[in-house]
C-alpha cells in the first residue's frame, strides 16, 4: 500500500527537479546547490515527518529573498532575478511542512520557473521538460484531489496503476491538442480559423500591370494597405515604392526581370528609419519609401531596380524595417541597358510621335525633360477618375481629346513620350500619401492611395523620380487633397488601438515591449510633472494615510476585548472551514454545531456564558478561550 501523501511528495520532488534542471547552467552554482539542498532536506523532513521550521520563519525568509532580488531587477536583465526569486520560493516551500495548499504552490512555482527558463534559453530540451511537467502536475493534481478528500487514503499497486492510467489520459489528450492548436495549425499555409473568413481577394489598389484605358483597375476602396511607423514627413516625400513596370506589352505595362546592373543611392544625408506593418497581401512586393537603401526583418530578394520581393506570403504577423534617403536619385554604376528602357509600345499614334520628335531633337536629357514637362503643363490635363479615355489609341485620346485621366494615364503617357524622345524611362507602382496618426506616430496608407509615377535616367546614369500627375491642372485639389486628408479623432484613436494591438500581440518582440513601456512611463512622467508638484503629492498621501490609521485605530479601540476575541475566532473558523460558514445571523452555538467541532462548542459555551450574562470575561476564561482559539 502506498499513501497518497508519499506519492504527492514524490511528485513534488519530480516537479522541483524538472523546473530546476533547465536553468542549471544559467544561475550561480552555489545558488542551485542551495535550492537542490533544500529539496533534498525537505524530502528528508517528509520522510522523518519532522516539521522543524515554523511558518512565520519561512515567510520571513521568502520576503527577504524577494526584496533582495527585486533590487537586482534591471532593464537589461529581468529573467535572471525573476528565476532566482521563483527558485528561492520553491526551495522554501520544499523545506517547510507540506499541506494541500503548499502542494499547489509548489506546482505553480514549478510551472513559473519552467516558463521563466524559456526567457533564459529556449532549446529543444525545453519541450521535453514541458511534457514531463504537464504529466507530473496533472497526476499530482489528481492525487491532490484524493488527498484533500481523505488525507489518510492509501493505494494498492493495482489501484495505483489504474489511477495513474486514468490520470495520464488527461495530459496526453491535452498535449496532442496543444500541439495541434499551437504548433501545427498556425504553421500551415491555411490557418485553422481562416475557414471563417472568405479568401483574400485581389482587391489591392496596387496592380502588377498598368493598362490605361481599362476600367476597374483602380481601387476606390479604402482598405488598409499598410502602416508605417515614422516621423511626420513632407507630403512630397510620401512616395511608397513597390514595383517597377519596365516593359510595354500590347496595351499594358508589365514587369519583367530587369537587366542586371549595379545601382545604389549616393546621398550623404542621414538615412531615415521606418518600420512597416503590412496587411495580408497577395502580391510578393515589399513596400518601401522612395528611396530605400536597406531592408531588414524579413527574408527578401532585391532586384537591380531596387524592387524588394519576398518569397513568403505577406501577412500581418511580419513587420520589417527600412532605411530611406528621401527623394535621392538612384545611381547606376556601369552601363544601363538603354535598349531595354527605350523599348516602345507596339502602337503609338502619329500625333504622339510628332510631339516626341520635336523633343528628341533637343541637345541633352535635361532640356528634353524640361520640354516634356512643359508639354504636359501646356496640355492642361485634368486628374479625374471618371469619363476616362479608352480605345486603341488611349494615349492620344488622353493627351489631346479628353485631356483627363488618373495617374496611370499620366505616367504611361509620360514614359511613352520619354522613350520616344530617346530617354530611358520606366513606370513605378506604389502608393502616394497617407494619413499621419500623431497618437501612434505612424502613417496609415489605404488602398485608394495607390499611385503610379515615372522614373527617368539622366546623362549621369541616375534614375530620377518624376510624377507627371502633379502637372494636372487640378493636382493640388484632387491628388494632393485626397492623398492627405486628415482622419477624425475617433478614427485616429480606434486605429491607434488597432496598431498597438498589432505591435504588442501580433508582431511580438520583447525588447520592443520594454521600449514601449519605457516610453509610456516617460510620457506619463512628463504629463504629471507640471500639473502636480511632487511635494504636494507626498504630503497628501501622508495625510490620507494618517487619516486612515486614525480611523482604523478608533474603530479598533471601540471594539471591546470580547468583540476582538470573537473576531479572531470567526477569522480562524473562516480559514479552517471556509468563509461561507460565517453569517451574521448565525449564533455561536449554531456555528459550532454546523462545523461539528468540540473546540468550537467549548469556545461558544464559555464565551456565551460571559457575554449573555452581561459580564466581562474573567482572566481564566480568557486564557482558556485563547488556547481553544489555537486549536480551532
Amino acid at each position: 500500500m502506498v499513501k497518497t501523501k508519499t506519492l504527492l511528495n514524490q511528485i513534488c520532488y519530480l516537479v522541483a527537479a524538472i523546473s530546476i534542471a533547465p536553468v542549471l547552467g544559467f544561475l550561480d552554482f552555489a545558488f542551485v546547490l542551495l535550492a537542490m539542498g533544500a529539496t533534498v532536506l525537505g524530502a528528508w523532513f517528509d520522510y522523518k515527518e519532522l516539521h522543524p521550521i515554523p511558518g512565520w520563519g519561512t515567510s520571513l525568509v521568502a520576503l527577504a529573498v524577494i526584496v533582495n532580488y527585486s533590487l537586482q531587477f534591471s532593464q537589461e536583465d529581468i529573467a535572471t532575478p525573476l528565476v532566482h526569486v521563483l527558485i528561492s520560493l520553491l526551495g522554501i516551500r520544499m523545506v517547510s511542512t507540506k499541506k494541500g495548499r503548499d502542494y499547489l504552490q509548489i506546482f505553480v512555482l514549478g510551472v513559473f520557473i519552467l516558463a521563466g527558463s524559456s526567457l533564459l534559453s529556449l532549446n529543444v530540451e525545453y519541450i521535453i521538460y514541458l511534457v514531463l511537467m504537464v504529466f507530473s502536475i496533472t497526476v499530482g493534481l489528481v492525487l491532490l484531489c484524493v488527498f484533500e478528500t481523505d488525507s489518510g487514503l492509501a493505494f494498492s499497486s493495482s489501484q495505483l496503476l489504474k489511477l495513474l492510467r486514468v490520470a495520464i489520459v488527461l495530459p496526453t489528450g491535452s498535449l496532442v491538442l496543444m500541439a495541434l492548436l499551437f504548433f501545427i495549425l498556425p504553421r500551415t499555409s491555411h490557418p485553422l480559423w481562416n475557414f471563417l473568413n472568405p479568401t483574400n481577394k485581389a482587391t489591392s489598389g496596387l496592380t502588377e500591370a498598368v493598362k490605361p484605358g481599362a476600367f476597374a483597375k483602380i481601387s476606390t476602396g479604402n482598405q488598409l494597405a499598410f502602416r508605417a511607423e515614422s516621423p511626420e514627413l513632407a507630403p512630397e516625400d510620401l512616395y511608397w515604392r513597390a514595383l517597377v513596370l519596365n516593359r510595354p506589352e500590347r496595351e499594358e505595362w508589365i514587369r519583367v526581370t530587369p537587366p542586371p546592373e549595379i545601382s545604389h543611392v549616393v546621398d550623404k544625408s542621414p538615412s531615415l528609419q521606418l518600420q512597416i506593418f503590412p496587411t495580408s497581401r497577395n502580391d510578393k512586393y515589399l513596400i518601401t519609401l522612395d528611396r530605400t537603401t536597406a531592408l531588414h526583418g524579413v527574408q527578401h530578394k532585391k532586384s537591380s531596380d531596387h524592387v524588394y520581393e519576398t518569397r513568403r506570403k505577406q501577412s500581418q504577423r511580419h513587420s520589417y524595417q527600412i532605411d530611406s534617403k528621401l527623394g535621392a536619385p538612384l545611381t547606376v554604376i556601369g552601363q544601363v541597358d538603354h535598349e531595354f528602357y527605350k523599348a516602345l509600345p507596339e502602337f503609338t499614334s502619329v500625333r504622339v510621335q510628332s510631339i516626341a520628335q520635336n523633343i528628341s531633337v533637343l541637345p541633352d536629357t535635361d532640356t528634353k525633360l524640361e520640354a516634356l514637362a512643359d508639354f504636359f503643363r501646356k496640355q492642361s490635363l485634368r486628374y479625374a477618375e471618371t469619363d476616362l479615355p479608352s480605345g486603341p489609341n488611349v494615349i492620344e485620346e488622353f493627351l489631346f481629346e479628353k485631356r483627363q485621366g488618373y495617374c496611370e494615364f499620366f505616367a504611361s503617357a509620360y514614359v511613352t513620350l520619354a522613350r520616344l524622345a530617346g530617354i530611358p524611362a520606366r513606370l513605378v507602382g506604389g502608393y502616394y500619401g497617407g494619413e499621419y496618426n500623431p497618437l501612434g506616430s505612424y502613417y496609415l496608407v489605404t488602398e485608394d492611395k495607390a499611385h503610379v509615377w515615372a522614373e527617368v535616367l539622366d546623362n549621369e546614369n541616375r534614375w530620377h523620380r518624376v510624377d507627371p500627375s502633379l502637372w494636372a491642372t487640378n493636382a493640388a485639389s484632387t491628388l494632393g487633397a485626397s492623398r492627405l486628408n486628415r482622419l477624425s479623432m475617433l478614427q485616429k484613436i480606434t486605429d491607434s488601438l488597432n496598431y498597438y494591438w498589432i505591435q504588442a500581440i501580433v508582431v511580438f518582440d520583447f525588447s520592443r515591449q520594454i521600449t514601449m513601456f519605457q516610453e509610456s512611463v516617460k510620457t506619463i512622467g512628463s504629463l504629471s510633472k507640471p500639473s502636480v508638484p511632487t511635494g504636494y503629492f507626498w504630503w497628501s498621501l501622508g495625510g490620507v494615510g494618517t487619516c486612515l490609521l486614525i480611523v482604523i485605530s478608533r474603530h479598533q479601540r471601540r471594539l471591546s476585548r470580547e468583540a476582538k476575541l470573537l473576531r479572531k475566532f470567526q477569522k480562524r473558523v473562516a480559514r479552517r472551514y471556509g468563509s461561507t460558514i460565517l453569517n451574521e445571523t448565525t449564533g455561536l452555538s449554531e456555528l459550532a454545531e454546523n462545523v461539528d467541532s468540540p473546540h468550537c462548542r467549548e469556545f461558544a459555551r464559555i464565551y456565551q456564558q460571559a457575554v449573555f450574562t452581561d459580564r466581562a470575561l474573567r482572566s481564566t476564561e480568557w486564557k482558556i478561550l485563547n488556547s481553544l482559539l489555537k486549536k480551532v
Binding site: 456564558q609 457575554v611 449573555f612 459580564r615
Partner: protein
C-alpha cells in the same frame, strides 16, 4: 454585580434533574420519536403557559397529553369539546343540597393542574371564551363568586386544523393565549412500524407512575425565575425580530408585545432545560416558530403561506448580537 453573577453560575442542577427525568422517560419508553414535542410541552409548563397541539387525528395528540398528565403527577381533568358543551360544563356549577338547604359549588374539570381540552375548535365560541378567560385570568367566577385555579395550571388543547365542518375556529385574539402551538407529525419510519406492531400505547400510558411531584415542579419553576438570566443583547434580538415581523411585507399583523414577552419567557425555559443560566440567541431562534407562528396574521393574498416558514426566513435577515 460580579458576586451576583458568581452565585448564579453555581447552578442548582437538582431542580432540573426531575424535569429531565420526565422528558427522558417519556421519550424513551412511551412517546418514542416525540422528544421535540415533549420538550416543547415541558417548556410551556415551566414558563407557565398553555399548549395548543394542532395536527390531524390519530397522530397521538391526546396520547401525549395523557402521558404528560400521568407522568407529572398532577391532578388531571379532561374536557371533550362538542358544539353543545356549555361554559358551566367547564367551570362547574352550584347544585342545591336539600339536606343543608343551600347551593354547593361543584367545581368543573378546569379546577385541575393539567386540563386537556380535546378538539377545542368544536366547542361553540361562548364556551371557548369561558375556557380561554380562565386560562388567562387563572381564576373562575361562577355566580358572582371567584374561585382561584390551582398552581401550576396548564391547559393542553388539541385541534384538527383540516376539519372544517361543525367547527368554530379560534380567533387570533384567543390563539394568543396559548404560549406554544405545535404539531406532532408522523413518527419516523422504524418507530411507526414498531407502533403498528405493538398497537396503541394508550393502555401502557395508564401505568406511567408519577415521575415528578408538584413540589418538585414548583421548585423548578422558582429556579427558572431566579437563575436564568436574560441578557440585554437577547432582549435586543427579540425586539428586532418583533419589529421585523411588524414591518414584514407578507404580514398584516406582527408579533405583539405579549408575543415578545412570551418568546422571552419560553426562551428562558428552554435555556433552563438546556442546563444554562443564560439565554442564547439559538433559544430564541428555536422557539420563534412555536411561540409566534399563531400570533401573526398573513395578508389575505398570502394566506396559503406557512407562517413558520415566513418567520424562519425572517431570521435569516436579522443579525445576532454576539459581543
Amino acid at each position: 454585580m460580579k458576586l451576583h453573577c458568581d452565585n448564579r453560575t453555581q447552578m442548582n442542577s437538582d431542580a432540573r434533574k426531575p424535569i429531565h427525568h420526565v422528558i427522558d422517560t417519556l421519550a424513551e419508553h412511551y412517546l418514542k420519536g416525540k422528544v421535540k414535542t415533549i420538550k416543547l410541552a415541558m417548556t410551556t409548563l415551566l414558563a407557565g403557559g398553555h399548549l395548543l397541539l394542532e395536527d390531524i387525528p390519530g397522530l397521538g395528540k391526546t396520547t401525549l397529553a395523557l402521558a404528560l398528565a400521568n407522568a407529572l403527577g398532577l391532578s388531571f381533568g379532561r374536557i371533550q369539546c362538542t358544539s353543545d358543551l356549555l361554559p358551566s360544563d367547564i367551570t362547574g356549577l352550584s347544585i342545591y343540597d336539600r339536606n343543608q338547604n343551600q347551593f354547593n359549588f361543584v367545581p368543573g374539570p378546569i379546577f385541575n393542574n393539567l386540563v386537556l381540552a380535546d378538539e377545542i375548535n368544536r366547542a361553540m365560541p361562548k364556551t371557548q371564551s369561558a375556557l380561554l378567560e380562565a386560562m388567562e385570568e387563572r381564576r373562575v367566577t361562577v355566580e358572582g363568586k371567584t374561585y382561584p385555579l390551582p398552581d401550576p395550571f396548564m391547559v393542553i388543547a388539541t385541534q384538527n386544523p383540516i376539519e372544517q365542518v361543525g367547527t368554530y375556529p379560534l380567533p387570533e385574539s384567543q390563539l394568543d393565549r396559548f404560549l406554544i402551538t405545535t404539531g406532532i407529525g408522523y413518527p419516523p419510519e422504524e418507530m411507526e412500524k414498531a407502533i403498528i406492531m405493538t398497537g396503541s400505547i394508550r393502555d401502557g400510558i395508564r401505568d406511567i407512575g408519577s415521575l415528578l411531584s408538584r413540589d418538585q415542579l414548583l421548585i423548578a419553576k422558582e429556579a427558572l425565575q431566579k437563575e436564568v438570566y436574560l441578557s440585554e443583547k437577547i432582549v435586543e434580538y427579540i425586539y428586532r425580530i418583533a419589529t421585523a415581523t411588524r414591518n414584514h411585507k407578507l404580514l398584516l399583523a406582527g408579533v405583539s408585545t405579549r408575543g415578545a414577552i412570551s418568546l422571552a419567557e419560553a426562551a428562558r425555559a428552554k435555556a433552563f432545560l438546556a442546563n444554562r443560566d443564560h439565554v442564547i440567541p439559538e433559544d430564541v431562534k428555536h422557539l420563534l416558530g412555536p411561540v409566534c407562528a399563531h400570533r401573526i396574521i398573513t395578508k389575505p393574498e398570502h394566506d396559503t403561506l406557512d407562517r413558520k416558514e415566513v418567520l424562519q426566513s425572517l431570521l435569516d435577515t436579522i443579525p445576532v448580537t454576539l459581543a
